[in-house]
């Protein structure tokens, strides 16, 4: 792989690039979907490809492809150079320099036993998730789908400025969508778990979680429209934290698309809240020794004691913002060029257990699911209104289920209104890699009937 990447960099230079970078990746993935006690599908896939970034002076272009033959890579390098010629000059464009050579970190990113799991054994694991859900509660009518998926990836990165590195990592997850049958109709509940390999998954717990979430929603009604305390469970809090992570990238800030712009040092959250970006956490799915352009990953404090400490930078935004890269260049495989984004976002857990957090809320709403996070949030102002479901909180305890309501606020007001942070932190892989506990927001608009 590293030889392939070297060849690509040479070809790009030969095609007229003043600097070049090649990212070669190979991914072997498997997926099992089960339904009704039977295997619905069993998939195996190998993907190999390369992406080349070419700079011609201050212009940059990108090309990717799957043809890894000598001629294929040469043609691809030429296309990357052509793309650079079409782009306008950008004074901040350029690859990272060699002074930031990647460390040979041993982060424990791979589960060496992954390959020992046969497709039959993986199918059995997925079936066990489904069985656990059906056994957990008599009101569970079925399971829409139970899924196991894994991926083992190898990455090599080479640049004309002397960066060379490679690493391997693996990940897997299991989830299901359980269906509960109530008098008023069906309810769904999501259960999930993740790890570096299947041994880290607890199929019984995943199935049970889906069943409990679905059953809890039976008979749900609409809450009265009002402003009240709202508790976000970790899956919901993670969605908001991922959005906040996007708004904290230097790219969003520099392009005037962040409610956090020009707020460094300010109190943007309640002092109980601390948020880090951690590209080295062994449990984080995006952890790696170096980022998507070869800069070492690291741990960066974003919000400490409520105050905004820094934004997230890749090389381009660092050049532009007169800052240093925080190792936050990311890409979703060889088909995408690097751009700045959060790695793993980690909210520091507090001391209150979940029951205590509800007690602290007194009377309000517990939100266990949100829909429309991507359509219902204005990325520039941070104003949002999203669909939600959950439970009423009465006298500090969970009460009747609620659905078909919205919660509305804006991201900064919400962070400032966070009154307490739970102790129940977990990893949530939707829309980003986030580890967060439940959050108690002192006041939010709830719109129902």
């Amino acid at each position: 792989m590293i030889a392939l990447a070297r060849r690509a960099v040479e070809a790009a230079t030969a095609a007229g690039a003043s600097e070049a970078e090649a990212y070669a990746a190979e991914d072997r993935g498997r997926e099992v979907r089960v339904h009704g006690g039977e295997v619905e599908s069993l998939s195996a896939a190998t993907q190999r490809g390369i992406g080349i970034r070419a700079w011609i002076g201050k212009r940059v272009g990108y090309a990717y492809g799957t043809d890894l033959s000598e001629e294929g890579v040469t043609a691809l390098a030429a296309r990357a150079a052509e793309a650079a010629r079409v782009a306008d000059e950008d004074e901040f464009a350029g690859p990272p320099s060699t002074t930031d050579a990647p460390p040979e970190a041993e982060l424990g990113l791979s589960d060496p036993t992954l390959g020992e799991w046969s497709p039959d054994r993986l199918a059995e694991l997925a079936l066990e998730i489904e069985r656990a859900a059906l056994a957990a509660d008599s009101r569970i009518a079925g399971v829409e789908q139970a899924v196991y998926a894994d991926s083992a990836e190898g990455v090599a990165l080479v640049s004309s400025l002397g960066i060379e590195g490679e690493y391997a990592s693996s990940s897997c997850y299991g989830y299901l969508q359980a269906l509960a049958e109530g008098e008023a109709g069906r309810e769904t509940g999501l259960g999930f778990g993740l790890g570096r390999g299947p041994a880290a998954l607890d199929p019984a717990a995943i199935g049970r979680e889906g069943a409990e979430r679905a059953a809890a929603m039976i008979g749900a009604g609409k809450p009265k429209s009002r402003s009240c305390p709202v508790v976000l469970d970790p899956t919901v809090a993670a969605g908001f934290i991922a959005l906040i992570g996007r708004a904290l990238t230097a790219s969003a800030v520099q392009r005037g698309r962040s409610p956090f712009a020009e707020r460094l040092g300010e109190e943007v959250a309640n002092p109980v809240l601390a948020l880090h970006d951690d590209g080295l956490d062994p449990e984080g799915f995006t952890s790696a020794p170096f980022d998507a352009e070869g800069v070492p990953r690291r741990r960066t404090a974003l919000i400490e004691a409520g105050a905004l400490r820094t934004y997230l930078y890749d090389t381009y935004t660092a050049n532009r913002g007169d800052a240093a890269s925080t190792g936050n260049a990311s890409r979703s495989g060889y088909r995408s060029q690097p751009s700045v984004s959060a790695s793993n976002l980690v909210v520091a857990p507090g001391e209150l257990g979940f029951a205590e957090l509800l007690g602290e809320a007194g009377d309000g709403v517990l939100v266990t699911d949100v829909a429309g996070l991507h359509s219902g949030v204005n990325p520039v102002s941070g104003v949002f209104s999203v669909g939600a479901s959950g439970l009423l909180i009465r006298d500090g305890r969970p009460a009747e289920p609620l659905r078909e309501f919205t919660i509305a606020s804006d991201l900064v007001s919400m962070l400032r209104a966070v009154r307490a942070v739970g102790a129940d932190a977990r990893w949530v892989p939707f829309g980003g890699s986030v580890k967060t506990p439940s959050l108690l927001v002192g006041e939010m608009t709830v719109a129902g009937s």
Binding site: A83, V86, G142, G372, N378
Partner: protein, 461 residues
């Protein structure tokens, strides 16, 4: 039409796929090439050329699908993928039928985008940028994007089908940010089709005007109302509401898994008689159209709701075979790396006979949702949510002021039954629909549609 794999190779691959038994085998080969670029801060950037080729092989045995895909079109690799798909089967060899090639007619493309110099595409973005920024001093930022892709596909299966398609799509998008004091608002518009570069012959810059106009309009917006009220949904992209709240629930995989509120409703009155709706993969050069679906079945026009009665579901091969129904040409996949699933093509509510102005005039206090930022539905429960990107308050039968941050939420069956007027106007818009981790181009359309009562989630209680 170009064939990505020849018949001999396809037959060998299908034989290898059925070596350990199975009821059905298929090989889907694809070659794609695309170019994307953007303009941001008046600078052309993110110029990206991509190309991929590969094949996916699946074997179906009973209720189980075995799938394997490989990058590249080397016959030896594809045969190996077939062996991998077959590896978990334990039955007697099955014999595929000899292939018989079907001629298809891909949608006509006048100007192949790949033949147009990249510099002209960059200039198109510069034109959008000028138009968008020219809309007024309060336009603080403007971005636009260009995308072209050509996908050649070949599909062969053990029932003897051997077909192919050649698809070219182009799309541009514009996004404006307007700022006044502390208020920041965004507006967006897109234009796309299953067509060549000739799509841009007719004033493509108008999408930049539209995006900027929306952002500027919202600067005057007040808070959105909260509560239940009549909602008039605009034409064109308003069709995404029907796509989400009904279309997905009619996809046969959701039906067969018990995860749709439309189960057992075939033949029943689910809407008022004024409503008729279609899924049509044959609309000429429309964004969601193709000559064949990704299983080789010719696309078709399917009436899904006739005078308020539910009359059809949307099938791919697997779901059609399972219940002995005829496939409807809705088996679509994002690429050779994905299994086909039932998907919409172009879904729309047919024009009615109400005048849009009259539909609004009859509303005392309500909400006018012109455009959506997106939406989501849980097909099993029927609960949906939509973010409104352009919305107005209706008071005393008149549109009075723009609202920001509104969301529509409701339940599919209730909202569908509550449609009490369908406008005589009509427009189609382009969308990209996500399902089962796959994104495919879909068209949505309608004229103005009024829903008697729906929950608007705003901040003004």
């Amino acid at each position: 039409m170009s064939e990505l794999i020849d018949a001999g190779v396809a037959e060998r691959v299908l034989a290898a796929a059925l070596a350990n038994g199975g009821d059905f085998a298929e090989v889907f080969a694809e070659r794609n090439a695309g170019l994307t670029m953007a303009i941001d801060e008046s600078r052309v950037e993110a110029v990206q050329a991509g190309a991929a080729a590969g094949a996916g092989v699946r074997v179906i045995s009973g209720a189980t699908t075995y799938f394997s895909h490989v990058d590249g079109l080397d016959p030896a690799d594809i045969e190996r993928a077939a062996g991998e798909a077959a590896a978990a089967l334990r039955s007697e060899r099955a014999e595929p039928r000899p292939l018989s090639a079907t001629r298809t007619t891909p949608l006509p493309i006048e100007v192949a985008p790949a033949e147009v110099p990249a510099e002209r595409k960059a200039d198109l973005l510069r034109e959008l940028d000028q138009r968008g920024r020219g809309a007024g001093g309060e336009i603080a930022q403007f971005t636009a994007s260009y995308a072209e892709v050509r996908r050649e596909v070949s599909v062969a299966n053990s029932e003897g089908l051997f077909s192919g398609d050649d698809r070219t799509r182009v799309r541009i998008g514009a996004q404006a940010v307007a700022r006044r004091n502390g208020t920041v608002e965004t507006g967006a518009e897109t234009l796309g089709a299953h067509r060549g570069f000739e799509l841009f012959d007719n004033d493509p810059g108008s999408i930049a005007d539209d995006a900027s106009r929306k952002a500027l309009t919202l600067l005057d917006a007040g808070p959105a109302p909260a509560g239940s009220m009549p909602v008039v949904v605009g034409g064109g992209f308003g069709g995404v509401l029907f796509h989400e709240m009904t279309g997905h629930g009619l996809e046969a995989d959701h039906i067969q898994k018990g995860a749709s509120v439309y189960i057992g409703k075939l033949g029943e009155q689910v809407a008022q008689p004024l409503l008729t709706a279609y899924d049509d993969g044959r609309l000429p050069n429309e964004w969601g159209s193709d000559a064949i679906d990704d299983e080789g079945v010719p696309t078709q026009k399917t009436r899904v709701i006739e005078d308020g009665r539910l009359v059809a579901y949307l099938y791919d091969g697997v779901t059609a075979r399972r219940e002995g129904a005829a496939p409807t040409g809705n088996g679509r996949r994002e690429s050779f790396r994905h299994l086909p699933v039932p998907r919409m093509t172009n879904t729309y509510i047919a024009p009615g006979d109400a005048e849009p102005e009259a539909m609004i005039a009859e509303v005392k206090r309500g909400f006018y949702a012109v455009s959506f930022a997106g939406g989501q539905v849980d097909p099993a429960t029927g609960d949906f949510v939509f973010g409104v990107s352009e919305g107005y308050l209706i008071e005393g039968g008149r549109v009075t002021r723009p609202c920001r941050g509104a969301t529509l939420i409701g339940n599919c069956l209730e909202a569908l039954a509550a449609i009490d007027a369908v406008g005589n106007d009509f427009e189609m818009k382009t969308g990209v629909c996500g399902k089962a981790g796959q994104r495919v181009p879909v068209g949505t359309g309608q004229g103005h549609v009024r829903i008697e009562a729906m929950t608007v989630g705003g901040t003004e209680v």
